[in-house]
Amino acid sequence: MDATQLIHPLLALALAPLMAGIVNKTKSAFAGRNGPPVLQPYRDLWRLLHKGAVYSRTTSWILRAGPIVSLAAVVTALAMLPFGGTAAPLSFAGDLIVFAYLFGLVRFLMVAAALDTGSSFEGMGASREVTFSALAEPALLLALAALARMAGSPSLSGLLAGAVANPAVSIPVLLLAAAAVGIVLLAENARIPVDDPNTHLELTMIHEVMILDTSGPDLAFAGYAALLKQWAFAALLVGVLVPWRTGVLWADVALALAAMAAVAVGIGVVESTMARLRLVRVPQLLLAAVACAALAVVLVLR
């Protein structure tokens, strides 16, 4: 364990809100507004951390446990991701499965916390969340399995190590896997073709509606966990899409950070130019991700 392994977790913890700020700034630019400052998400979190809390009389300890477990699980998942040449603090055969399943744990607890309030709106959001995630999960794992086969390594650190051996096969595979991971990124992080993070109509939301009754530090934890989760998926996407390494540590990290910013801008562009899909169409989008991932598997298998 050397110190460079801690670079990525610290960067993620520090910069995840900034990424959301960049997304919002991009959307504002498209809409011709000034928009909130890039650092606004930090201020929001800070303010929430210093507030009291209001709990529904219906709720039990599960509502309070949800945000804590989510944040802890997401931070643990971040520890398995390599980033721009820095190795992950935690790396072992099959860590990609733990990575995916930690988000399953997050989902389980957040959905339970939503149902804990007994509100039909939060139940609705929870129902949609589990529906779409059940389809996103095979896409993510198949894409990672294809990359694992290509890199010949069963761990995230190995398969994102950035070696492009046989470009004729590997670049199409990387693109397909990136497409699958990209769709999963949008679906898992309440982004536009699937969910609208800005809407204030409870009927149309998924993630935001699940935390209607969470307040104060709990809301800060849940919000921060969501931001870190977005960072984790974006970092995964960057790992797939930017397989080149210069060999110089700071240059690699800078390159990866630039790519992260590009992903944030990309999310903003998608959100500005696309409409949210009708809910019955979302499974098709996710199936398209599964198809991309399956195609990647087919390509690497031969």
């Binding site: 599960i62 931070v75 149902l115 059940a134 999960e137 095979p138 086969r149 709990d218």
Partner: protein, 660 residues
């Protein structure tokens, strides 16, 4: 070995005593439970010794029955199945004393007798080494559990369930008899020790394998043969469901493994068949579980799903053996065996939790419950742990075994050719789908039953489970955590000897369990990091909230002022998007009286998801058979003299045939 026989005797004695004092239900319960605990304690010693030390001891002596001798043996594989059998039956027996506590009449004592008989039957199945003894034990187990299922026999649905189970299990037994006859003819002996791969043609071995899959698969609940599970599990008392689902169906897996170890090196297509069965059982099982309205039915379908995961592990093991890929084989078999243990723990816990709910609220209809977490917090916590484990989420034990299946598949994917790669990719995708759907299924169950507001007055008046019931659930809950966290160490210690039985040395597969335990060490590290961070966050939250206002209020329902409990999302509405997405497979039936007028009066909506295979395959097949057989109705006319004549004629014909 003597200890095992002693343990069986003690358990059986407990059952007999319970039957003797059947007029006093409480005494009967206590006697049977004491017998179960004492017997288990005695039996665990040799079982653990066999698993950890890999010892093999046997008793063989001639007995009065024709064909073969009384031959029992305890090797590591038997021991590995024996441990969960002994533990779970003892735990469930303790639970049952309280669960049946409010019942009166002799049926309690009778039920305990059959409970002990079921335990003895299961023990005998895993130690029997003679085909006749095995079948006797198998039948004892099946019949005892039939009587246990029929406990509440005044209800028509229970009688139907018990009947379905009886028919299903005997169809399976028929396949087993055919299998044993084939093996015995081939080797000229009914003793398992004389059975080996030598001299078996591949066609014969394949036929035996198929018969074993059909026969043992019926008991285990492989997908097209699972039809009895969702009927029998809800009908039986909860502690019996826990035993049946937790360990009894695993005897099917045991039988399959035992036969696999006897019929020689497997060809690859056996692996593919098992993986196909596993995928269909897993995905369809969890889908049907998701669509259920009854908690115990949901759990029964979830057992089918978990049997599917075990079958996938077995399939990968077989595939690895066939392709001479020792890592895949070891990981696959280890995953299957490990999931057998884990499923016994968490499914036992879940069924006991369901029993507590039934005990407290008088129903397991999910949509009639709600808000139980505030009324029975300890049960809710236990059930939640069980649910997280059954979803295969870290850091509990369910994840460790699903993780092993995953890395077995990943290893196959990394090294295999096109066909193996495609198969393992299908396993990975299938497991991911199962994982996602399991989360949907069990958040639905937990959320609707324990969270929110009570939907009916029964749920409102529910009470916490008693101390005994809670203690057993707590024990299983702690076991789920401990087994999850200690898995690398436990697997390294306990699976080596059973695996050696499964792939004996001549097959040329070196067993190195490091391939399983070293990634699991990483899992445990991640789990430790997770728990550590969570604890820090708990403290941080306490610091942040100290001195600030923490108030209570009503749920924010988007400005709506008078929400009632009936406006909550129900389990049916929660599952509706997924049920609708998979309506081609689930075929939900809707019965709705829509709202038509401006001031609607009465409206109702009812949905029902039947079993695809019962409705489309089994029921039509049985109808066809009944049509054919009804032509023979004239034999059944009710005249006793004629029946005597039949018997006499049969005897005469047999005599003539034998002498002639």
């Amino acid at each position: 070995m003597q200890l095992i026989l002693a343990s069986t005797a003690i358990i059986f004695l407990g059952g007999l005593l319970a039957l003797a004092v059947a007029s006093r239900p409480r005494a009967a319960s206590v006697l049977a439970a004491v017998g179960a605990i004492a017997g288990s304690a005695v039996g665990l010693v040799p079982a653990l010794r066999a698993v950890l030390g890999g010892t093999h001891d046997a008793i063989a002596c001639p007995w009065g029955l024709p064909l073969g001798e009384f031959h029992v043996a305890l090797d590591a594989l038997s021991g590995l199945f024996l441990v969960p059998i002994l533990v779970l039956t003892a735990v469930a027996a303790v639970y049952g004393t309280r669960y049946l506590g409010h019942d009166t009449g002799p049926r309690v004592g009778v039920s305990w007798f059959f409970y002990s008989l079921l335990t003895c039957g299961m023990i005998a199945v895993v130690v029997a080494r003679d085909a006749v003894l095995f079948l006797l034990a198998w039948e004892t187990m099946s019949l005892a559990s039939f009587f246990l299922v029929a406990y509440d026999d005044r209800r028509e649905s229970v009688r139907h369930a018990a009947w379905t189970y009886l028919v299903a299990t005997h169809i399976g037994t028929a396949a087993l008899i055919a299998l044993f006859v084939l093996m015995a003819r081939q080797h000229g002996s009914l003793d398992f020790d004389h059975w080996n791969a030598g001299g078996m043609t591949s066609a014969l071995a394949s036929l035996c394998f198929l018969l074993a899959v059909a026969g043992f698969g019926t008991k285990a609940g492989f997908m097209p043969l699972h039809v009895w599970l969702p009927e029998a599990h809800p009908a039986a008392p909860s502690h019996v469901s826990a035993v049946m689902s937790g360990v009894m169906i695993k005897t099917g897996i045991y039988g399959l493994l035992r036969i696999l170890s006897l019929i020689g090196p497997p060809p690859a297509w056996w692996g593919w068949l098992l993986i196909a069965i596993g995928l269909s059982s897993g995905i369809l099982g969890i889908l049907f579980a998701l669509a259920q309205h009854d908690l115990k039915r949901l759990l029964a379908y979830s057992s089918v799903e978990n049997i599917g995961i075990i079958a996938m592990g077995l399939g990968l093991g077989v595939l690895g053996t066939a392709y001479a890929a020792p890592t895949v084989a070891t990981l696959g078999y280890a995953a299957a065996l490990w999931h057998v243990l884990n499923h016994a723990l968490f499914k036992g816990l879940l069924f006991l939790g369901a029993g507590a709910v039934l005990h407290a609220a008088g129903t397991t209809r999910i949509d009639r419950l709600g808000g139980l977490a505030r009324r029975m917090p300890r049960t809710a916590m236990a059930f939640l742990f069980g649910a997280v484990a059954v979803c295969g989420l870290p850091p509990l034990n369910g994840f460790t075994s699903e993780f092993l299946v995953f890395i077995a598949a990943l290893n196959g994917m990394l090294s295999g050719d096109l066909l193996v790669g495609a198969t393992t990719a299908a396993v990975i995708a299938g497991l991911a789908v199962i994982g996602g759907l399991a989360v949907a299924c069990f958040t639905k169950a937990c959320g609707t039953i324990f969270l929110g507001e009570p939907r009916t007055s029964e749920a409102d008046e529910a009470h916490e489970a008693g101390g005994t019931m809670w203690a057993t659930m707590a024990l299983l809950m702690v076991a789920c955590v401990v087994v999850g966290v200690a898995s690398p160490w436990l697997i390294g210690r306990s699976l080596a000897s059973p695996l050696a039985v499964l792939c004996p040395a001549p097959a040329g597969l070196p067993i190195d369990l490091n391939v399983a335990s070293s990634p699991l060490t990483g899992v445990v590290l991640a789990a430790a990091a997770f728990i550590g961070i969570a604890l820090i966050l708990v403290l941080l939250r306490r610091r942040l909230l100290a001195g600030r206002s923490v108030t209570q209020s009503g749920t924010w329902d988007c400005g709506y002022q008078r929400p009632t409990a009936r406006m909550q999302y129900t389990s049916s509405s929660f599952a509706q998007p997924l049920v609708d997405l998979f309506r081609g497979l689930l075929r939900p039936r809707r019965d709705a009286a829509p709202i038509v007028e401006l001031f609607p009066t009465a409206a109702h909506l009812q949905t029902h998801v039947g079993d695809l295979f019962t409705d489309r395959l089994i029921a039509p097949a049985f109808r066809r058979v009944r049509e054919v057989l009804s032509r023979l109705r004239w034999i059944q006319h009710g005249r006793v003299q004629w029946y005597v004549l039949y018997i006499a004629l049969t005897l005469l014909v047999l005599l003539v045939w034998k002498l002639g």
